[in-house]
Symmetry: C2
Subunit: 118 residues, 2 copies
DNA sequence: CCGTATCCGACGCGATACTG
DNA sequence: CAGTATCGCGTCGGATACGG
């Protein structure tokens, strides 16, 4: 999703299940691994690691490791990642505003589909 | 992706591979099935049908069937679907503007990862 | 022209358990 | 604390062929 607008193919997609939420969690500053996991309820450490790695790979976040016991790792948005905040906020606002409409449309559609079968 | 911003779970995601492109294809008015398939190079009829159905289900597009030979079916954005254009344009603009950066970051990351292994 | 039917591989995501 | 190691399953997307 959200490749360039000219219908060319692009190898990167921003559509991971958790990506948007992680960006927003990092909006107000760096967060530790466990600080990210807490608000993202239900995410497993494996998936959180995977997602953060791919975001790091794409230049959206940085990963800084502190040396000590216990370990401390901080994740932070890069300027590139920060530039994502505005467009993503627009989409999030859309979702928040129109979720009820979508759900209503779904219910209405189920009615029609259900009656069509019978 | 792009559920409500409050970290609640939501059953709907806008992250289909072709959804965004279809919305933009419909921006300037209704399009027939084949008119959609043409610019979306590589999409199979099955997937196009599936995607359009789910968008119809969510109230984003309408499907109007003309009676005649050959058959004619037009797809058009609903007001709800049209309201998606603005936020999506923001994301598409981001992608267009920052795609090179992301690709650069990927190459740089490959360098590091590759040298780390060896 | 506008789809449907079938089959299938790949990947995303999760559960669970374990480690430096 | 911050991960890694395995395993598994469901969904998404694609190839191909056929139908009204």
């Amino acid at each position: 999703m959200f490749t360039a607008c000219d219908h060319t193919e692009s190898p990167f997609r921003l559509g991971g299940k958790w990506t948007a939420k992680i960006v927003r969690c990092l909006e107000d500053g760096p967060r530790r691994f466990s600080e990210l996991a807490a608000p993202l309820r239900g995410i497993t450490p494996k998936v959180l690691t995977e997602t953060l790695r791919s975001m790091e790979r794409d230049g959206l976040v940085t990963r800084t490791v502190g040396d000590g016991i216990p370990p401390r790792v901080d994740y932070a948005l890069t300027p590139l990642g920060r530039s994502l905040l505005a467009p993503m906020a627009a989409c999030c606002a859309w979702a928040a505003a129109h979720l009820p409409e979508v759900e209503g449309a779904r219910e209405a559609y189920e009615q029609v589909a259900g009656s069509a079968v019978r």
